[in-house]
C-alpha cells in the first residue's frame, strides 16, 4: 500500500493513482468487474442448485459426502493446474476440441478461449464448487419445522419457497455471490497462464507493470492497481459480512 504513494525515488506522490484512470487501467478494471460479476452470478446460480440437490440427499448418502468433498477440492483448483487442464481439454489440440472436430466437424478452438469469455468458462470450474461449499450450510440451516409449520398453515410447496425459504436464503445467497465475486476478482494464476496477449484484467495489468522489461519504473503503478483491488475487495467483503450477520441471526 505504501508503494502506491511513492515515486521511483521513494518520495511521496499521488501520481501513481492517476494511472488508475488511464485507458488500459479502466479497460482492465472493466474486464475484471465483468469477469468477476459474470462468474459470480453463474457460479452462484448453478452452485446453489447443486447445493440444494446435495443437501436434499440423506446425510449418510455417499453421493452427498462425495460431492461435498470434491467441491471442497475443486474450489481450490484454480491456478496453473486448472489452466493446464483447460488447455488439455479445449486447447488447440485438447481432447474435447479434437473430439468435436472429429465427430461433428465443429471447431471449438478460437481466440475467445483466451480472453474474457474463455476466462468466464474456466473460472466456473472453481466458482461453482466454491458456491456449493459456501451455500450448502444455508440450505442445511432451513429448519424442517419451518416447512411443516408453513404446510400446516395451508402453504403449498410454492408458497413455502416464496414466503419462507427464498426470503430466508436471500441474504446468504447474496453474501455467497459477493464472496464469489471477490474470489474471481482476486484470482491471478489461471488467467496468467491462459492469457498471453493483452491485459484484460487488473491482476494481469499489475503483472505487466511490475515485471515488464519494456516499461521500466512502473512498479509503483502496479502497487496503485493493487490498492484499487484491495479497496474493491474490502467493500465487497464488508457487504458480505453484513449479510452474513443477518443470516446467522436468522439461522441460529
Amino acid at each position: 500500500m505504501v508503494g502506491a504513494f511513492q515515486d521511483e525515488a521513494g518520495g511521496l506522490t499521488f501520481g501513481n493513482l492517476d494511472a488508475l484512470t488511464s485507458e488500459a487501467a479502466l479497460t482492465a478494471l472493466k474486464g475484471s468487474l465483468v469477469l468477476s460479476a459474470t462468474t459470480a452470478v453463474i457460479g452462484a446460480l448453478l452452485g446453489a442448485l447443486l447445493a440444494y440437490l446435495v443437501v436434499s440427499l440423506p446425510t449418510s448418502s455417499l453421493l452427498r459426502r462425495t460431492t461435498l468433498a470434491i467441491s471442497g477440492v475443486l474450489a481450490q483448483f484454480g491456478g496453473v493446474v486448472l489452466a493446464f487442464a483447460w488447455i488439455a481439454t479445449i486447447g488447440p489440440v485438447g481432447i474435447l476440441t479434437k473430439a468435436l472436430s472429429d465427430l461433428l466437424g465443429a471447431d471449438l478452438y478460437g481466440p475467445w478461449l483466451f480472453d474474457i469469455p474463455g476466462l468466464v468458462v474456466v473460472y466456473c470450474y472453481f466458482q461453482i464448487p466454491l458456491m456449493v461449499i459456501v451455500f450448502a450450510p444455508a440450505f442445511e440451516g432451513l429448519r424442517p419445522q419451518w416447512r411443516e409449520a408453513a404446510t400446516n398453515l395451508g402453504a403449498s410447496t410454492w408458497d413455502y419457497w416464496r414466503h419462507v425459504a427464498i426470503p430466508l436464503l436471500t441474504p446468504a445467497f447474496l453474501g455467497a455471490t459477493l464472496l464469489l465475486f471477490a474470489n474471481a476478482f482476486a484470482a491471478y494464476a489461471t488467467a496468467a497462464v491462459l492469457v498471453s496477449q493483452g491485459q484484460p484484467i487488473v491482476p494481469l495489468l499489475i503483472r505487466q507493470a511490475i515485471t515488464s522489461e519494456v516499461l521500466l519504473g512502473q512498479a509503483n503503478v502496479g502497487f496503485a492497481l493493487a490498492l484499487e483491488m484491495i479497496v474493491v475487495v474490502t467493500l465487497v467483503m464488508l457487504a458480505y459480512n453484513m449479510l452474513l450477520k443477518r443470516t446467522s441471526r436468522w439461522m441460529r
Binding site: 419451518w146 409449520a149 404446510t151 400446516n152 398453515l153 395451508g154 414466503h163 439461522m251
Partner: protein, 350 residues
C-alpha cells in the same frame, strides 16, 4: 377456507392406525376418539408413538393402515395443507424473517384474507396470548415462552378444526412451563377447539387434559380422566408410568388384596393369587411403633409434603408421602408401622 374450519369443536377419530418404519412398528393399531372441544393429552415415554399419531393427524406423516377423520370427514389422504389444523411444535418454529404479527397472520394471508382483516385477527390472537404489545418484534427478540405463545396464536388465527400441540413446553424452563401450560388450557377453553396435546411430562398431562391417553409401544394402554388414570390404572404399565408406585407383595382372593397384612379392594384387571400391588405413596401412612416391622431410612422435605422411605424386615423399600407437619416427627432409624389406605389397588403378576 373449507367449511370445516368455520365450525368449532369437531370430533376427531383415529381408527386402528398403524405406522411401520422398516422393522419398527411406531403405531400398532391405535384407536382414539376425541369429543368436540375436548383436550386430550397423549402421554408416554420416548418412542411410544405419541408424536407419530399427532403427525398422522396433522397430515405430516401417512399411516401404513387405518383412518383419520375429523367432524365425520375422512382426512386420511387429504394433504396436510388442506386439513385446516393448527399446530405448535416442540422446537421454536416462528419464521425468523417475519415480525410477530406477520407470523400470526401468515395462515390468513395464504387464505386470501385482506391486509386489514388479517392484521385485526392476528392482533386479537396476540391479545389472547398476552403479547399484543410485541406485534412488531422478531422471533429472536422474544424469550422461548413468548415464542411458543406466538406459535399458539399463529395456530389459532386460522380457526383450525383441531389444535395440535407437539410437546410445546419441553424446551422451556420449569417456571415458564407451568405458566404457559395454564395459559394454553385457558385459551383452549376460551376458543373451544378440539385439542390433541402430546407430552412426556405426566404432571403437564394430568394438569391440563380432560382425558389422558397413556401410550406404550404404539398402543393406547388407557384413556381416562386424570383422576381416574391416577387412582385406577388399568394396566401395570399405566400404574408404574403415571405417578410413583410402591410394588408390594400381595395376595388377591375374591377381589380383595392383602397388602402389608391389611385388606384393600383389588381393581378390575388385577391378577388373582400372588402378585405385586401398586400402591401410591400417599396411600401409605407411617405410624411410630417399636414393633411395627419397618424402619425409617430417609426423610425428604418437599415443601408442604415430605417423602419418607422405610424398609421392611425383608429389605423391601416402601415410599410414603406425608404432610410435612407429620413427617417432622420421623427421623431415620425410627421403628414404625406402615398402614395402607383402604382405596382400591391394582395387583399385577410378578
Amino acid at each position: 377456507m373449507t367449511d370445516l374450519a368455520t365450525e368449532r369443536g369437531l370430533a376427531v377419530e383415529l381408527s386402528d392406525l398403524t405406522r411401520v418404519y422398516g422393522a419398527v412398528r411406531a403405531l400398532d393399531g391405535l384407536t382414539l376418539h376425541l369429543e368436540p372441544g375436548e383436550l386430550v393429552c397423549l402421554l408416554g415415554p420416548s418412542g411410544c408413538g405419541k408424536t407419530t399419531a399427532l403427525r398422522i393427524l396433522a397430515g405430516l406423516d401417512q399411516p401404513t393402515s387405518g383412518t383419520v377423520s375429523v367432524g365425520g370427514r375422512d382426512l386420511t389422504r387429504v394433504p396436510a395443507n388442506k386439513r385446516d389444523m393448527g399446530m405448535v411444535f416442540q422446537a421454536y418454529s416462528l419464521f425468523p424473517h417475519m415480525t410477530v404479527i406477520d407470523n400470526v397472520a401468515f395462515g390468513l394471508k395464504l387464505r386470501g384474507r385482506d391486509g386489514a382483516s388479517r392484521r385485526k385477527r392476528a392482533g386479537d390472537m396476540l391479545d389472547l396470548v398476552g403479547l399484543g404489545q410485541h406485534a412488531d418484534r422478531y422471533a429472536h427478540q422474544l424469550s422461548g415462552g413468548q415464542q411458543q405463545r406466538v406459535a399458539l396464536a399463529r395456530a389459532l388465527a386460522v380457526e383450525p378444526s383441531v389444535l395440535l400441540l407437539d410437546e410445546p413446553l419441553s424446551a422451556l424452563d420449569a417456571k415458564v412451563r407451568v405458566q404457559l401450560r395454564d395459559e394454553i388450557r385457558r385459551v383452549q377453553l376460551e376458543v373451544g377447539t378440539t385439542t390433541l396435546f402430546v407430552t412426556h411430562d405426566q404432571e403437564e398431562a394430568l394438569a391440563v387434559a380432560d382425558r389422558v391417553g397413556v401410550m406404550n409401544a404404539g398402543r393406547l394402554e388407557q384413556l381416562a380422566p386424570p383422576a381416574e388414570l391416577y387412582s385406577a390404572p388399568a394396566t401395570k404399565f399405566v400404574g408404574e408410568f403415571v405417578g410413583l408406585s410402591n410394588r408390594l407383595p400381595a395376595t388377591v382372593t375374591a377381589g380383595v388384596a392383602s397388602v402389608l397384612g391389611q385388606e384393600v379392594p383389588a381393581l378390575d384387571g388385577s391378577a388373582t393369587g400372588s402378585g405385586s400391588a401398586l400402591v401410591r405413596p400417599e396411600a401409605i401412612s407411617v405410624v411410630a411403633d417399636p414393633s411395627g416391622g419397618a424402619t425409617v431410612t430417609t426423610v425428604q422435605f418437599l415443601g408442604p409434603l415430605s417423602r419418607v422411605t422405610c424398609q421392611l424386615a425383608d429389605g423391601t423399600d416402601v415410599v410414603a408421602q406425608l404432610a410435612s407437619t407429620d413427617a417432622v416427627r420421623l427421623t431415620p432409624g425410627d421403628a414404625v408401622r406402615l398402614e395402607v389406605a383402604p382405596s382400591p389397588v391394582l395387583v399385577v403378576a410378578d
